[in-house]
C-alpha cells in the first residue's frame, strides 16, 4: 500500500480508501447504534461519547494525512474520480471534511456533559455522526444527484437534532420551522436541478460545464435553474434570502446543536456552493448568466442584515445566530468575486473564503459551546445575565473573550487574517465594494461582540452564581481547545491558507 492514493482504479478497496474519512464516520455512527441495541437499557453515555470522539478524531486524522500527503491534489495525479464521476476526492473535499470533523469532535465532547441527564444519548450521537457523514459526502459530490441526496442526508438528522429536547417547546418549535423551510428549499433545489438538466442534458458537474456553450436558446431555463440552485445553497448556508430559519433554529436548539449547525452545516453548504458554481456554472457567466453579481448582492445584503440585526439583540445566543448570518455573507464573497477566466484571483478569493470557514469553525463553535456551558449552569440568556461570570469561571470567560474578539476580526487571533485575506482577495479581483462593505460591517460587529466581553469581565454579577462551581470536563475541554486553536491560528495561519488556496486553484485549473 503506498502512502498516497493515486490514479483512477475502480475497485471497491480503492474507493473505500479514497473515502476513508466518510466511511469511518459512517461506521462510527453504526457502532453507536450497535452499542445501544446491545444494551438498550444501559446509560453508556461515557462509552458512547468516547466511541464517537474516536470516530471523528480518526476521520480527522485521516483527512489531515491525506491533505498533507497530497491525495487527490494536483501534485499527486489530481482529483480522484469515483463512481463514474459522481464523487470526486480532491483538496476542496478534504479541506471541508477537516472542518466538519473538527467541529463534530468539539461538539461531541461538549455534548457528553450537556446531555448527561438525558435518558438515551445514543440517538443524539448517532444522528450527529450520520449528519457529519453526509456532510463529508456533500464536500465530494461531483454530480447534482449526489449533491441533492447528500444534502438531504445532512438535513434530515439536523431537523431531529434541533428538536432533540422533546419537552422543550422552543426546541420543538425551532425544529418544525427549520423542517418546513428546509422542505421548501429542497423543493426549490430539486426544481432547479431539473431545469439545469433540461437545459444541458447532464447532471455531472464537468459535463454541465461542457454543455453550457451549446445550449442555444435554452439559456433562460438554465438561468432560472442556476438561481434556484443558488437558493438551495443560501438555505444551507443561512444566507439571505433563506436565512430566516437560522435565528429561530439556533436559539431554540440545544446549544451544542446550534454550534454544529452554524459551523459545520454552514461550511457544508459552502462546500457544495463552491464546487457546483466553480466547476459547473463558470461558463454560464460567458453567456450572460452573471451569478457572480447575484452572489455579490446576496453577500452585501447578508453582511449588512446579519450584522445590523445582531447589534440589536438582547440575548447572547440570538446575537450569535445573527452574527452567523453575517459571517455567511463574508464567505459568500468567495463566490461573488468569481469572474470568468480570472482563475488566479478566483482561486485566491475562494481559498480565503475557505480559510475563513475553517477559522470560523473553531471560533464560532467555541462561542456556542460557551453558551452551552452557561445553559447548563442555569444562568439566564441575556447580556445582563452574563454579567460577572469571569469572576467564577475565568478560563472559560477568557476563551469566550478570545472568540468574540476573533469573530470581530481584531488582529490578535485567527479571525483577523481570514477576514483580511478575504477582503484583500476581493480587492485584487476588482470587487473593492465587497471589501468595503465587509470592512464596515466588521467594524460594526466589534460593537456587539464586545458587549459580551464587557458583560463577562467588566460588570458585576446580577444573578446568583453559586451553581458555577463544577467544571463540566468535556464542555470545558472543548471550549479551551477551541480557544487555543483560535489563538494559534494567527501565527499558524500559513498552512491553512496555503492548503485552501491550492484546493481552490485545483477547482479553477
Amino acid at each position: 500500500m503506498s502512502l498516497v492514493l493515486q490514479g483512477t482504479t475502480t475497485d471497491w478497496v480503492f474507493s473505500v480508501r479514497a473515502l476513508l474519512p466518510v466511511v469511518l464516520l459512517a461506521l462510527t455512527g453504526l457502532a453507536v447504534f450497535g452499542i445501544n441495541s446491545l444494551r438498550p437499557d444501559g446509560r453508556d453515555n461515557k462509552l458512547l461519547a468516547l466511541t464517537s470522539i474516536a470516530g471523528t478524531l480518526s476521520a480527522l486524522a485521516v483527512t489531515v494525512w491525506y491533505l498533507f500527503a497530497g491525495t487527490g491534489q494536483p501534485t499527486h495525479g489530481g482529483a480522484i474520480s469515483l463512481f463514474s464521476g459522481a464523487i470526486v476526492v480532491d483538496g476542496l473535499g478534504l479541506f471541508f471534511t477537516a472542518i466538519f470533523t473538527s467541529v463534530a469532535t468539539l461538539v461531541i465532547a461538549a455534548s457528553y456533559d450537556y446531555f448527561e441527564t438525558d435518558a438515551n444519548p445514543a440517538s443524539f450521537y448517532s444522528l450527529l455522526l450520520l449528519s457529519t457523514t453526509a456532510m463529508g459526502l456533500m464536500a465530494v459530490s461531483n454530480s447534482l444527484v449526489t449533491v441533492f441526496v447528500s444534502l438531504e442526508m445532512t438535513s434530515l438528522p439536523s431537523y431531529a437534532l434541533v428538536a432533540y429536547l422533546k419537552d422543550n417547546r422552543g426546541s420543538v418549535e425551532a425544529g418544525l420551522k427549520y423542517f418546513l423551510i428546509g422542505a421548501v428549499s429542497s423543493a426549490v433545489l430539486a426544481f432547479g436541478i431539473s431545469l439545469v438538466y433540461a437545459a444541458t442534458g447532464s447532471l455531472l458537474l464537468p459535463d454541465i460545464a461542457a454543455q453550457i456553450g451549446s445550449i442555444g436558446d435554452l439559456n433562460g431555463v438554465l438561468g432560472i435553474g442556476i438561481v434556484m440552485i443558488a437558493g438551495g445553497v443560501a438555505f444551507k448556508t443561512a444566507s439571505v434570502p433563506f436565512h430566516f430559519w437560522a435565528p429561530e433554529a439556533y436559539e431554540g436548539a440545544p446549544a451544542p446543536v446550534s454550534a454544529f449547525l452554524s459551523s459545520a452545516s454552514k461550511a457544508a453548504g459552502f462546500a457544495v456552493g463552491f464546487r457546483v458554481f466553480a466547476t459547473a456554472f463558470q461558463p454560464a457567466i460567458d453567456i450572460g448568466i452573471d451569478w457572480g453579481l447575484l452572489f455579490g448582492i446576496l453577500a452585501v445584503v447578508t453582511m449588512v442584515l446579519g450584522n445590523f440585526a445582531a447589534a440589536t439583540q438582547t440575548e447572547v445566543k440570538r446575537m450569535l445566530a445573527y452574527s452567523s448570518i453575517g459571517h455567511a455573507g463574508y464567505a459568500l464573497i468567495g463566490l461573488a468575486a468569481v469572474t470568468a477566466g480570472a482563475s488566479a484571483t478566483n482561486a485566491t478569493v475562494m481559498g480565503a473564503a475557505m480559510a475563513h470557514l475553517f477559522v470560523y469553525g473553531f471560533m464560532n463553535t467555541g462561542a456556542f459551546l460557551f453558551i452551552a456551558m452557561v445553559e447548563r449552569w442555569g444562568v439566564g440568556r441575556t447580556f445582563e445575565d452574563y454579567a460577572g461570570l469571569a469572576e467564577r469561571a475565568p478560563m472559560a470567560s477568557l476563551a469566550m473573550a478570545v472568540f468574540m474578539f476573533s469573530l470581530a476580526g481584531l488582529p490578535l487571533f485567527g479571525g483577523f487574517f481570514s477576514k483580511y485575506f478575504l477582503f484583500l482577495g476581493a480587492i485584487n479581483a476588482g470587487f473593492w465594494w465587497l471589501a468595503a462593505v465587509g470592512a464596515v460591517t466588521s467594524t460594526l460587529s466589534l460593537f456587539y461582540y464586545s458587549r459580551v466581553v464587557k458583560a463577562l469581565w467588566l460588570e458585576e454579577a446580577t444573578t446568583d452564581l453559586d451553581a458555577i462551581g463544577d467544571a463540566p470536563t468535556g464542555l470545558y475541554a472543548a471550549v479551551i481547545v477551541a480557544g487555543v486553536v483560535t489563538v494559534l491560528l494567527l501565527p499558524g495561519f500559513g498552512p491553512v491558507i496555503e492548503t485552501a488556496e491550492a484546493a481552490a486553484a485545483a477547482l479553477f485549473a
Binding site: F421, I427, S450, K454, L458
Partner: protein, 509 residues
C-alpha cells in the same frame, strides 16, 4: 534572535503571573519585569548600528523569518532596532517595572490578573517598537489595546466602563482608518512584502502606482491623511483628544503611568515611522495644517489643564499639550526637530509617569484628587511632595532636566525649519504654551502642597511607604541624568533621524 527572546520572556512572564496566586503576584511581577530591563540594557550596551532602519540604514539585532505567503505578499516575523526605537524600548521596560511597584498600594483585587495584564501590555509594547513588518507591527499595535481595555474597565474608577469602551472604540476606529490608508498605499506599490524598510525604500524610489481610479499623487495624499488621522487619535491631538481625560481619570495610577508614559508615544512613533519617513513630500504638503493642529494642541491643551480642579485631569490635559510639541518637532522636519521630537517622547514618558505616580501617592494617602480639598501637604508628606514639585519643574522645562532638553531641541529645530512656512511664528506661539504650563502647575501646587494644612477627607496622613516613593526617586534620577547628559540618547536618535531630513534635501539644523 535576541529580540525574539526578549518578547518571548515577557510573554511568558505575563502568563506565569496570570496563573500565580494573588498573594505572590505583585512581587513576582516585579521580579520578572526586571528581565526585560536587563534585556533592554544589554541591547543598549551592544547597540552599534547607525542610520535609520527604514531608509536603508543598518538594522541592529535584525531577524527576518518567513511567516506566511498570500496573494503574492510575503509576511514575515521581522524585528530590529535603530536609534529611534531603542530609546523607546528602554523606556517601556523601565517604566513598566516602576508602574508595577507603584501598583502595590492601590491594587488589592484580582491581583494576578492585574499584573499579568500589565506584563502582557509590556510585551506587546516592546513588539510595537521592534516590529519591522507591517502585519507583525499591526498585531502588536492592536494587542496593546486589549489589556488596556481590561485594566481600565476592571480596576478603574466609578465611570470605568464608559471610559474603557470610549478608549477602545476611539482607538479601534482610528486603527481601521490607518489600516485602510496604508493598505491602499501598499497595493499601489510594486512590492511583494510588508516589510517596512522595503515599502519605505520603494516609495522613496518613486515607484508608487495608482490604486483603482486614484493616481499616484492623490493616492499618496489620501494615504498620508488616513494614516495621520489614525495615529493622531492615539497621540492624541485636538480635536480627537476627548477619550484621553476620561481614560486617565478612571484608570488606576499605574495604568495612567503606562498610558501617558508609553501608549501615547505609540502614536508619535508611528507618525514618525510611517508618515514622516515614508511620505516626506506629502508631509511638506500638509505642513501648515498639521502645524496648526500642533500649536492648537499645545495652547488649548494647556488652557484646558488650567481650568481643571482634579490633579489627575490637570496632568492628563498637560499631556495633550506636551504631545503637541512632539508633533511640532515632526512637522519642522529638521535635524533637531525630528530628533528633539523623539527625545521628547522619552522625556515626556518619564516626566508624565513621575507626575501621575506622585499624584497617585497623594491620592493613596488623602483619597481625594481635588485641588480644593487639600492644602499644605508639604508638611505631612515631605518626600512625595518635593518629588512632585521637582516633576512639575521638569514639566515646565527647568534646565538640566530631560524636559528642557526635549523642548529646547524642538524649538531650535522648528524655528529654523525650511519645510514649514512661517516656522518662527508657529514656534513662538508654541513657546507661549510653556508660560501656561507654569501657570497651571504653580497654581495647583500652591493650592495643594503649600500653605496651612487642611484636608477635607477623614484620613490620617502617614508618610508614604517606601515602595511608593522608590519609583518616584528612580524616575527623578532618570530625568536628571537625561537632562544633564542628553547625548546618552540623543546621539543615536540623531543618527536615525538625520537620514530622514536628507529625504527632503536637508535644511537648517
Amino acid at each position: 534572535m535576541i529580540l525574539g527572546a526578549l518578547l518571548a520572556v515577557t510573554f511568558a512572564a505575563a502568563l506565569l503571573v496570570f496563573a500565580a496566586p494573588d498573594e505572590y503576584a505583585p512581587k513576582l511581577a516585579f521580579g520578572l519585569s526586571l528581565l526585560p530591563i536587563a534585556g533592554s540594557l544589554y541591547l543598549w550596551s551592544a547597540f552599534e548600528a547607525g542610520g535609520n532602519a527604514l531608509t536603508g540604514g543598518e538594522i541592529a539585532f535584525s531577524t527576518a523569518v518567513p511567516w506566511l505567503e498570500v496573494a503574492g505578499y510575503q509576511l514575515q516575523w521581522y524585528v530590529g532596532l535603530d536609534g529611534i526605537s531603542l530609546p523607546l524600548v528602554i523606556l517601556t521596560s523601565f517604566l513598566t517595572s516602576l508602574a508595577i511597584v507603584s501598583a502595590w498600594t492601590p491594587i488589592d483585587d484580582r491581583k494576578s490578573q492585574f499584573y499579568g495584564l500589565m506584563l502582557l501590555m509590556e510585551a506587546n509594547l516592546l513588539g510595537v517598537f521592534t516590529a519591522l513588518d507591517f502585519f507583525l507591527w499591526f498585531v502588536f499595535w492592536e494587542a496593546v489595546l486589549v489589556p488596556m481595555y481590561f485594566l481600565i474597565g476592571i480596576w478603574g474608577g466609578p465611570r470605568r466602563r464608559y471610559a474603557a469602551i470610549k478608549f477602545f472604540v476611539y482607538t479601534n476606529i482610528a486603527s481601521l482608518v490607518m489600516f485602510i490608508g496604508f493598505m491602499m498605499l501598499v497595493i499601489g506599490l510594486p512590492v511583494n512584502s510588508f516589510g517596512l524598510p522595503e515599502i519605505s525604500q520603494s516609495l522613496a524610489a518613486g515607484e508608487l502606482g495608482s490604486f483603482f481610479w486614484l493616481p499616484a499623487d492623490t493616492l499618496a495624499l489620501v494615504a498620508f491623511a488616513a494614516m495621520f488621522i489614525g495615529f493622531a487619535v492615539k497621540v492624541p491631538v485636538v480635536p480627537v483628544h476627548t477619550w484621553l481625560p476620561d481614560a486617565h481619570v478612571e484608570a488606576p495610577t499605574p495604568v495612567s503611568v503606562m498610558l501617558a508614559g508609553v501608549l501615547l508615544k505609540m502614536g508619535t512613533y508611528a507618525l514618525l515611522r510611517y508618515n514622516y519617513t515614508m511620505l516626506p513630500t506629502q508631509a511638506e504638503y500638509f505642513a501648515v495644517p498639521i502645524a496648526i493642529i500642533a500649536v492648537v494642541s499645545v495652547i488649548y491643551g494647556a488652557m484646558l489643564a488650567l481650568a481643571q480642579e482634579d490633579l489627575k485631569r490637570i496632568v492628563a490635559y498637560s499631556s495633550v499639550s506636551s504631545m503637541g510639541y512632539v508633533l511640532l518637532g515632526l512637522v519642522a522636519f529638521t535635524e533637531f526637530g525630528l530628533g528633539g521630537a523623539t527625545f521628547q517622547m522619552v522625556a515626556h514618558g518619564l516626566i508624565s509617569g513621575l507626575m501621575f505616580m506622585a499624584v497617585g501617592v497623594i491620592y493613596n494617602a488623602t483619597h481625594t484628587r481635588l485641588v480644593g480639598d487639600m492644602s499644605g501637604l508639604a508638611d505631612r508628606m515631605p518626600i512625595a511632595v518635593w518629588i512632585l514639585v521637582a516633576g512639575a519643574f521638569a514639566y515646565m522645562g527647568l534646565p538640566l532636566m530631560a524636559g528642557f532638553a526635549g523642548e529646547f531641541f524642538i524649538f531650535v529645530g522648528s524655528f529654523g525649519s525650511t519645510v514649514l512656512p512661517y516656522a518662527p511664528v508657529f514656534t513662538a506661539v508654541a513657546m507661549f504654551g510653556i508660560v501656561i504650563v507654569a501657570g497651571y502647575l504653580l497654581r495647583a501646587m500652591q493650592g495643594t502642597l503649600f500653605g496651612p494644612f487642611n484636608l477635607e477627607t477623614d484620613y490620617d496622613l502617614d508618610r508614604a511607604p517606601l515602595h511608593d516613593v522608590a519609583p518616584l526617586v528612580a524616575l527623578l534620577a532618570a530625568i536628571i541624568v537625561l537632562g544633564v547628559v542628553p547625548s546618552l540618547f540623543f546621539d543615536m536618535i540623531r543618527d536615525a533621524t538625520v537620514p530622514l531630513v536628507e529625504l527632503l534635501g536637508g535644511g537648517a539644523p
